[in-house]
Amino acid sequence: MELFDHLLLGLSVAITPINIVYLLAGAMIGMIVGIIPGFGPAAGLSILLPLTFGMDPIGAIMMLAAIYYGAMYGGTITSILLNTPGESAVVASTFDGYPLAQQGRAGPALVMQAVASFFGGTVGVILITVLAAVFALVTRSFGPPEFFMLVMMGMVTLVVLIGDNWRYGAVSALIGFALGTVGVDLETGLQRFTFGSAELIGGIEFIPIAIGLFGLGELYYAFYQGLHRAGSGGIIQYQNEKEFWPNAQDWIVSKLALVRGSILGFCVGLMPGAGATVASLMAYSIEKSSSKTPERFGKGAMEGLVAPEAANNAASAGAMVPLLTLGIPGSASTAVLLAAFVLWGVKPGPLLMEQNPELAWGLVASMYLGNMALLAINIFAIPVFVMMLKVPYRLLAPAVILVCTMGTFSVHGSIIEVWLMFAAGIVGFFMKLYGYSPAATVLALVLGPLAEETLRQTLIISRGSPLIFVERGTSLIILLITLGVVAFGIYMSHSRKAEKMKANAVDTSSE
């Protein structure tokens, strides 16, 4: 079969001793880059790009790609252990990952996230191998109207995240939307709320806000509770070796979440610009709203960690499709990969796979190997990461602040972003204290500007007519899916209420 020929060709290119070394080096670097808060794959790739100048193109691209998807594995580790998402795609992993760690289940959480990452990544590569050409059509049908509809679908997620206290949730989201308005207005070029600062013309970035709200907010809260005076006590408990492996229950609840998260993640990853963040949040909210026991979410539900993890890794694979089949970068990281292609004289575009089959298929084949290597590296490395929890809090906390500061500063070299991070930390502390939702704030910060941009673009194109959303096929499909998701959510919450009432009546409460 042609497909296997391609894959064999790819494997024959990828499996040379030197390329395997590059691949493993890339995977390790990616993990480390992902672990440092603030230091996402895009920053890591662009800093390491010049180092690959003297290398053979295929080895170099394999290494860079491994950094790219390796970062997705690493990013979750601090989300789980420190409640500090290293980048936007792993925010959803803090929701249940950190509660799991607080309950002493950091080991199983880390193992399951590695498994989920592997599963999502591998499903993604399989889909690329088999159906890249078909999926390219999805990317091709994506204009501003479709984008806006997708963002609206993400906004549905926001409602799920806001949770029970909708007033506090709405305030949290509004803070995020407000922050999202800062910067030069895209369509008119006018400055909004920049107060004349040149560093704010690009807007307020996600990274300093997320690190501040989650990571520093959590630290300040722990100080407030006096954890630093507790002597040898770590930030969270971790009992012993027997708690390392996930139990049967973890696997059972995660089974479907893995599949759903992977497929959803891959499809969302195909859309340029939406990427892993929207995918992981959508996966989380779908998991929560389709669950029979949504009240467990946010309190350490394994499927609440597994679904977004599978989704963000599948999305990073999905984002390779527009890159390989159209030469279109879907994210900051794939834009750096694209720059790397150009540097090596490869012309990205629809003919890439025909003109450079060794490179294209070598890259795809290396992603299979890379994901396997990352799974192994992760499982071996987890005990090392878990050791971090045994460090007394009074020593760990300053180190975390230092790393967060350096990570945030390194992204754009902007001291203003560092101040923003500290300010967000203080806000995050009060949000935690009074039960506001920092998750809603950061999600609104990501989605708000996207929604504004794409809506304005759409309405300029349609000369002000909203009918464009139903006239274009893809946009209509997304609209219908969104409505379906909303209807399903409402139905589920109603049927749960009905069930509860029945259950209360007969008094047979299950766990």
């Binding site: 010049p50 895209l186 008119t188 279109i328 629809p350 000369r463």
Partner: protein, 328 residues
């Protein structure tokens, strides 16, 4: 900076007979020896690693090092932030220092218009314009528009939706000038990311877009999008047959300037040295390869000609953007 002041004093001092002996003795050796091997060259890259400006700066530096054109050590520093405001602001503050240098790109013109920077493009000591990032006007392969004439004609009938990157940018200025002169209206749709812009065109949402040729060369080759006109002075080889705007009678001379500048008020000796050296750099095969790989148009202007180019461009930008209400 102290060195710069003494150099300037030296120049002024040369006019005064009594000062000649003193000033020349202290400062003249420094001038004669520019660049001194013991001074580090501080190369400001106003953007992050991996971007267009960064790659250009590092290409020039590697050529300087490979052919030993610069005697001392060269240190490249990415000083990113505020679309170049931070990096070029840093260079601006090194007034008179002949050991500071930076590469320019499109934001060199647009950032001073967006933010109130204390500097403008003509504040610096010009060395050379080396290349231009030119744009190409493209339509979807399914579009009925086949030629430049089709484009003008159809645009006169119905105003097209044309996409580009950002509002305060060459992408907006050039189509605006073209529409003004050809006598049609259009709706400009600004995008933040190239990927979103390209898919918007592929999906049929936009009627046309302007884009740097390098970004879409693969799509053009595969026939997914059709080139209509090129804004630069000379169409690249692989786009033979595509007319330039100048050929069609629309010569605006606007493009994103990729050049090299020194801090303000740098002594003439240093400027001349860099002009001479950059003339060597652009003849090296590595530079030719860089131009080709990144699909740039070699557009070379030296010294004051470069400043004049920047001034004309900035004037046009300011005029168009003011007329359209984009800036005050």
């Amino acid at each position: 900076m102290r060195l710069g002041t003494s150099l300037r004093q030296a120049v002024r001092g040369a006019a005064l007979a009594c000062a000649v002996s003193v000033a020349a003795l202290t400062a003249a050796p420094a001038m004669a020896e520019y660049p001194s091997a013991s001074e580090r060259l501080d190369w400001t890259i106003a953007f992050g690693p991996g971007g267009g400006n960064d790659i250009m700066a590092r290409t020039i530096i590697s050529i300087l090092e490979k052919y030993k054109l610069y005697p001392g050590e060269i240190v490249a520093q990415n000083r990113s932030g505020g679309s170049g405001a931070v990096g070029w602001g840093h260079l601006f503050n090194q007034k008179g220092n002949p050991y500071g240098i930076s590469t320019t790109s499109g934001s060199f013109l647009t950032t001073p218009l967006k933010a109130n920077t204390p500097w403008g493009p003509s504040s610096f000591t010009p060395v050379a314009l080396l290349a231009a990032d030119d744009l190409i006007l493209v339509v979807n392969k399914d579009s009925p528009i086949k030629t430049f004439e089709d484009w003008v004609e159809s645009s006169k009938k119905t105003a097209p939706a044309l996409g580009g990157m950002g509002a305060v940018n060459v992408d907006f200025i050039v189509p605006t000038l073209l529409a003004e002169k050809a006598g049609y209206e259009f709706e400009y749709v600004a995008f933040n990311k190239q990927g979103e812009l390209t898919t918007a065109l592929l999906s049929g949402a936009l009627d046309a877009m302007v884009v740097n040729t390098g970004e879409v060369s693969g799509l053009i080759e595969a026939g997914d999008i059709r080139p209509i006109a090129f804004t630069g002075s000379q169409t690249p080889d692989w786009l033979k047959g595509v007319p330039t705007l100048a050929e069609k009678g629309y010569d605006f001379g606007i493009s994103a300037p990729r050049g090299v500048v020194l801090p303000p008020d740098v002594p003439k000796e240093a400027q001349d040295w860099w002009i001479k050296t950059m003339k060597e750099v652009i003849n090296k095969p590595e530079w030719q390869e860089y131009i080709k790989k990144h699909d740039l148009t070699p557009t070379v202007l030296w010294g004051d000609e470069f400043t004049k180019f920047l001034e004309t461009n900035q004037e046009t930008f300011g005029r168009v953007l003011k007329a359209k209400g984009v800036i005050q």
